[in-house]
């Protein structure tokens, strides 16, 4: 497994990880040492690191050509899509976590940006027609999972829940419509493992019915 890493990132916040949470990193996480490129695609964080070589041009490794590239509308293929971009989703309620009837709840979820800290998260309970700003858990850390919370009174009627995140660099989580306008529509019935829509950081919609059950819908 080899990947080309920009010098700019190496000199920025890249590191060679030996420890995690006070102990040596696990074998499954790349013991004895792992390259860490915060905020960048997971596969670039090379595990079981044994060699770093300075080069002038990317080597065009298999994992930056045949894989981890993204065909967009038109003939072009995006390459070197380094950062995992701003994304959020609601974890409670969510499919499997059923609400027990009308009343007060906390809508809670996670936000992340590979470009830095989360700036704000907005939550909607009417499918994106109106929004309110959620509270963010402290400490607010760069390129880290960030918990957001929104107090909510549910009247027991079917609702469409959404969250939308901005990061401090000014990037905003796109809607499905905005993403498809930029990249083209996905083919139907694409298997989950096919990765045709990698870096799919669109707003996610949960439809909660009057029994309190949440389902993933395309909002």
């Amino acid at each position: 497994m080899n990947r080309s890493i920009p010098i700019a990132k190496a000199l920025d916040d890249a590191m060679i990880a030996l420890y995690q949470n006070g102990e040596r990193i696990n074998p499954a996480q790349g013991y004895p040492m792992r390259l860490l490129v915060p905020g960048y695609e997971g596969n670039m964080n090379v595990k079981w690191l044994h060699r770093i070589k300075l080069i002038e041009e990317p080597v065009m490794a298999i994992n930056e050509t045949m894989q981890y590239t993204y065909r967009v509308a038109g003939p072009k293929i995006w390459q070197f899509f380094f950062p995992m971009e701003v994304k959020s989703f609601i974890t409670h309620p969510s499919p499997g976590l059923t609400l027990k009837g009308p009343g007060f709840y906390e809508i809670s979820g996670l936000a992340y940006s590979g470009n830095g800290r989360i700036g704000k998260v907005m939550v909607s309970a009417d499918g994106g027609r109106s929004w309110a700003q959620a509270a963010l858990d402290a400490p607010l850390l760069s390129k880290a999972l960030t918990r957001f919370r929104m107090p909510w009174r549910w009247d027991g009627q079917p609702v469409l829940l959404q969250s939308r995140a901005w990061d401090e660099a000014g990037n905003v989580q796109p809607t499905r419509a905005e993403m498809f306008a930029e990249r083209g529509e996905p083919k139907v019935n694409v298997p989950v493992t096919a990765f045709p829509m990698g870096h799919m950081n669109v707003v996610t919609t949960w439809a909660v019915d009057n029994k309190g059950e949440a389902k993933h819908v395309y909002g």
Binding site: M1, N2, P6, A8, K9, L18, R24, P32, M33, H50, R51, K53, I55, E57, P58, V59, M60, A61, I62, T65, M66, T69, Y70, R71, P75, K76, I77, W78, Q79, F80, F81, F82, P83, P196
Partner: protein
Amino acid sequence: MSMGKRFALAVAVALVASAASAADGPGLGKPINETDLVLWDLSIGPDGKGLPHGSGTPAQGAVIYAQKCEVCHGKDGEGGRNAALANAPGKSARTMALYVPNATTIFDFTRRAMPWPQPKSLTNDEVYALTAYILARNKVIGEDEVMNAETLPKVLMPNRNGFVSRYPEKH
């Protein structure tokens, strides 16, 4: 204190500091000599620098492919348990012809990682032959073309110019 003396002091301090940190560090590894390093220095970029001696043809590759590769990659590279290596209409949109801009990538990956259960077990001649075979199956080279350190980097992959960097400012 003169400039010369300060510089010397700084160097001495630095030496002491590095000795101390080596003692406190994880104590991983040991220096490697140039000969052994060659076994690890496997990356081949588009310019083909570092390609080893050796050569192979698609016909030679076909024999090796049947023995070592077909079980996972299917007849004629059409795919099976694993990735299709040649055009597989209706099976996979992610073909080599479309997604590999340089033929050297095929050599690089095959040499370091294949076959799956015995990576790095192929000779350089075998890797050239298999690369030639895959290129021929993708109709990029002819059935009688020889792949070696000189010819491989010159192969023109059909979608060489089809890639665009998503964030060029991050390079």
